[in-house]
């Protein structure tokens, strides 16, 4: 790989970075501003805040978040695999089968342990 190969990435950065910057800056310049006390309260779905936001919440949320990350990230492997499947042929199919099989065992484990039940 020569440095010329990185050019498209550079161009993408050059376009994307100013775009994001403009999208943040422009509304703050153009938008109307009428601050008052009610508006500066932390937003809590239209309710009046009644306690500190930093407090315990049920462990199930963690569970869901962690499980989501695990299974979601594994999906990333599926994309490059799908693109090159016609080259990998039957070998690739088996490999992915093994991979998904291991995931499936994890899934079974989590299921049987009752991690999906809210109560």
């Amino acid at each position: 790989m020569t440095s010329a190969d990185y050019l498209p990435i550079l161009i993408l950065i050059l376009i994307a970075a100013p775009f994001a910057g403009i999208a943040i800056l422009l509304p703050s310049v153009l938008g109307p501003k009428n601050p008052n006390r009610m508006k500066q309260e932390a937003i809590e779905s239209g309710m009046i805040p009644f306690a500190d936001a930093r407090r315990r919440f049920p462990v199930q949320y963690y569970m869901v978040a962690v499980l989501f990350i695990i299974f979601d990230i594994e999906v990333i492997f599926l994309f490059p695999w799908a693109v090159s499947l016609n080259q990998l042929k039957i070998f690739g199919l088996i490999e992915m089968g093994v991979f998904l099989g291991i995931l499936l065992i994890g899934y079974l484990y989590v299921w049987k342990k009752g991690a999906f039940e809210w109560e």
């Binding site: 080259q87 990998l88 070998f91 291991i102 065992i105 079974l108 484990y109 049987k112 342990k113």
Partner: protein, 479 residues
């Protein structure tokens, strides 16, 4: 694009262990919970079967040779012996867990699955000849061990141990990765063979090797990177301590050996001198600290640090003979150290939530109550101290011989003097068992489950006979 050739036959034992780990994970979930007692032990039986099968496959594989998986793993004589050491240690530790686990946890399948994953990590680490694979293997074994260390869920010490081990371990992984990055920066290769072929010199290689020494030194519990070890060894369930004190050392030493071989461009004198001083520091510090311990397990933890120092002597020698000696010592160490921890685990008393640590006097008067256990423990202690004709003596003989041969006589002198220091605290246990009255707390009847008894018997036999019998055929392993 041509597909890589994948020769799975060369990693068959590792695959067996991995598959067993997955099966164990779901084994007792698929059966109804209110099962018979026999079925409760299903994960343990399955795990043991997996380890034995992996061991048999290793033994029957004949002469292994050749790299596989695109030069990421190698199956050579070194890996073969590492396999045997790790599987032996794992099987012995498993026998201990069998009766020990019910005292502190009901989560059998998780325990055994993690245990097997740690084993798999060690086996892969021993076969790694590529930096990324090496790192991934190390992480597999480490993460499994972090969790296992904290398996005493009701016990504060267990949590502390796991947290400390995890934080420092993660830190050390960072060092190791940095070292790998510097190697890559110097040579543009991640395969150890390619790195060696490049023969690149300079600061990057030197710094990379230094960082590797730090990273692997953590895993080996080499001073001054040993801080986690006493807490982790003491807080972890005793069977886990027994297993990891041997297995991790073995795997990390093989990795260290492969890395220093690859960094051949760094002058031998530089890293060997650095390692020699680490070795001296480790054995001295471990032994001196062990002198003052009041907990049997913590004493054994420090003794284990000291033994990491002895083992490094063989790496310092830098010769094939040196590494033969390391492997020989690891076998001997597996027997005597796991045996000692086995008896420590029998002396612990199950409490309400957890298991109470055995104090240094827990074994007092043991000869009167369980003479054979006391005799076995005395053998482990004397062997750890390096008294002939036990296995530990022959191990040290080979280690120090390799050191003397390579001109490291002063390190051998330090080693034998350290053995004398260590004899004091090992003898303290022996004195208690044979020459003291039973302490008040020791009057409780000692449980003697069959599986743990088997483990003690095997380790005692190994300690007694390994040195005498293995000596004739043990040569030229790593050549």
């Amino acid at each position: 694009m041509s597909l890589p050739t994948l020769d799975f036959s060369l990693i068959l034992p590792e695959l067996v262990v991995l598959i067993t780990a997955l099966l164990v994970l779901i084994a007792d979930l698929l059966w109804p919970r209110a099962a018979s007692r026999g079925r409760e032990q299903a994960p343990a039986v399955l795990a043991l079967a997996g380890l034995i099968l992996a061991g048999l496959l290793t033994l029957l594989a004949g002469e292994w040779s050749g790299a596989t998986l695109q030069g990421m793993l190698v199956a050579d004589a070194l890996a073969r012996y590492l396999n045997l050491v790790v599987l032996l240690a794992a099987a012995l530790g498993l026998l201990l867990s069998w009766s020990y686990l019910p005292h502190f946890s009901t989560q059998r399948s998780e325990y055994y699955a993690l245990y097997l994953l740690a084993v798999a990590g060690m086996l892969f680490l021993g076969k790694s000849i590529e930096l990324i694979t090496l790192f991934v293997s190390l992480e597999i074994l480490s993460i499994a061990l972090y969790v296992l260390t904290g398996f005493h869920r009701g016990q504060l010490a267990g949590g502390e141990a796991a947290l400390k081990y995890f934080l420092l371990g993660a830190f050390s992984s960072g060092f190791l990765l940095y070292g790998a990055a510097l190697f890559y920066a110097a040579t543009g290769a991640t395969r150890l063979a390619d790195i060696a072929a490049q023969n690149a010199g300079g600061f990057y290689m030197l710094a990379g090797l230094a960082l590797f020494l730090v990273g692997l030194g953590f895993k080996l519990a080499v001073a001054p990177f040993h801080m986690w070890a006493p807490d982790a060894y003491q807080g972890a369930p005793t069977p886990v301590t027994a297993f990891m004190s041997v297995g991790t050392k073995a795997a990390a030493l093989v990795a260290l050996f492969r890395v220093v071989q690859a960094a051949g461009s760094v002058p031998v004198g530089v890293w060997a001198t650095a390692l020699a001083f680490l070795s001296l520091l480790t054995m001295t510090l471990g032994n001196l600290a062990a002198l003052r311990q009041s907990s049997l397990k913590r004493m054994l933890a420090y003794s284990s640090i000291a033994h990491a120092g002895y083992l490094l002597v063989g790496v310092v020698a830098g010769t094939a003979a040196g590494f033969d000696a390391v492997l020989f010592y690891l076998f001997a160490y597996a027997f005597m150290n796991i045996g000692a921890f086995a008896i420590a685990s029998l002396l612990e008393r199950p409490g309400f939530y957890a298991v109470q640590d055995a104090g240094i006097h827990a074994a007092d008067g043991l000869f009167g109550r369980r003479p054979w256990l006391a005799v076995a423990m005395a053998m482990f202690m004397l062997s750890l101290a390096g008294i002939p004709p036990l296995a530990g003596f022959f191990g040290k003989l080979y280690l120090f011989a390799a050191a003397v041969e390579s001109g490291w006589a002063w390190l051998a002198v330090a080693g034998v003097l350290n053995s004398v220091i260590s004899a004091y605290y090992y003898l303290r246990v022996v004195v208690g068992m044979f020459m003291a009255e039973p302490s008040a707390s020791a009057h409780l009847r000692l449980p003697l489950p069959a599986s743990a008894t088997l483990a003690v018997a095997l380790t005692a036999l190994g300690t007694l006979l390994f040195g005498l019998l293995a000596t004739p055929w043990f040569q030229g392993i790593s050549r």
